[in-house]
Amino acid sequence: MLWSWLDDRLGLAELGKLAVKKRVPVHRHTVWYYLGGMTLFLFMVQVTTGVLLLFYYRPTAEDAYESIQFIMAEVQFGWLVRSIHAWSANLMIFTLFLHFLSVLLLKAYRPPRELTWVSGFVLLAVALGFGFTGYLLPWNELAYFATRVGTEIVGVVPAVGEFSLRVLRGGEDVSGATLTRFYAIHVAVLPAIAVGLLGMHLFLVQRHGMSAPLEQESRGDAPPSMPFFPNFLLRDLVGWLVALAVLASLAAFFPTELGTKADPFAPAPVGIKPEWYFMFMFQTLKYLPAHILFIEGEVVGILAFTVGGLLLLVIPFLDRRAARGQRSPLFTWLGIGLIVYAVVLTYLGYTMSPTQ
């Protein structure tokens, strides 16, 4: 009764058909297919806990720290909500990176999935933006100085640097104005962008189905597969449940610390580190010499990261061999190089003495 009433109006059966029709290839790389769903699940956790945090959070320099202290101490289960939000953010970035790298190495960006890749890559950038803006919101010492260093980098860009820095910070320095700004970006701007892109990304995934690896596809015969619904979705569900259990345990045993309240007039503490997912970039900038061919080293570094990001964004259009269904070892090695580079610099970033 209710089903047919709703179906008439919403076209549920068609949606169901879309889901049932979709089949997931089964091969030795199938496990990577779960990462996208896992990221989606963690994103939903972020939205839920984020909305809950909004009930008590106050985005001003005077109140932000105290309101989080209040959430952690006075609000029932506030510690749980905040800790899950913080842990889930890190896990989400982690699974997102894995998802991104697996797609890169399996060359799933081949036609007709170029736009899926592009939307996914922009989502990755949005997620990093979430991380960067969200880090400042507790208004503690560590976040304050990390944000100061992080935004400083924007300032070295020639011509527009000064201006963008002012726009980003909402003033000359990181202040209460920056906090309000980051808050708006974190809870309104980025979610709006993310939801739009995510809708497109998911629609495209449903439309094109999962991409089979190149070697399997080139064999020509229909590969073994399983229905997306319910077989694959139920397996996804298992992964999500495991993630939920891990999150709950992390939150219970390692509740997120708050640190001391930011004091703009205090000297910067030793060894300010960005969040781990920005570490490789941060570390690269440290290694660059002061000047490379008359240009400031930092400027070169930032330009290199920008160009690298743009290249990754348009990789489906560059990798012509993969597009023709041929092997393209060059791009495989590029991907592996990228992973090695990020891992090594992250490692160096965490082991190098902060006074060096």
Binding site: R58, Q69, F70, V75, Q76, V81
Partner: protein, 160 residues
């Protein structure tokens, strides 16, 4: 699912099939889904219930002491965040507030109406009504807070 039953004598196989039987799976699924929904909704619900402390302590606190309860030339201790504060009404009627932690060894100071000083009993440290250490071992003045009066309520905040 019941195809195993047609082969007699294989009790292990039968056991597995029993395990897989629709009723058990359905029971397990429905109860645990119910449990999960509860264990998510319960904390979320409790989270939304306004906590006993009212609203988050900020850089300002409204004291439970009313202006009329504080006679001239007297002082009282209040809780400022995690630390004690002291609010003093001077003989001329001004309200002033300071951190009540003595800068010497961290005892809680008190108001002495006989000398009109803020006084630490531990080592006889005296502070004047501007929080300045004027006698005894305290090395530094007391941290001063800003006092505002809203109706008959005293609102103390940090810094200006």
């Amino acid at each position: 699912m019941a195809d195993g039953l047609t082969q007699p004598g294989q009790s292990r196989r039968r056991f597995v099939d029993w395990l897989l039987s629709r009723t058990l799976t359905t029971w397990l699924l429905s109860t645990s889904v119910g449990g999960l929904v509860l264990s998510v909704l319960y904390p979320a619900g409790r989270y939304l219930v306004p906590p006993a402390a009212g609203e988050s302590a900020t850089a300002a606190v409204t004291l439970s002491i009313k202006t009329e309860d504080l006679a001239p030339n007297s002082g009282q201790i209040f809780k400022f965040g995690n630390r004690p504060g002291i609010v003093v009404r001077t003989a001329s009627g001004d309200l002033r507030a300071f951190s009540a932690t003595c800068t010497h060894l961290g005892c809680i100071v008190q108001y002495r109406s006989d000398v009109s000083h803020i006084w630490c009993a531990c080592h006889n440290g005296h502070f004047d009504l501007n929080g300045l250490n004027i006698q005894g071992p305290p090395p530094r003045p007391l941290e001063a807070f800003t006092v505002n009066v809203r109706g008959d309520e005293i609102v103390v905040s940090k810094g200006a």
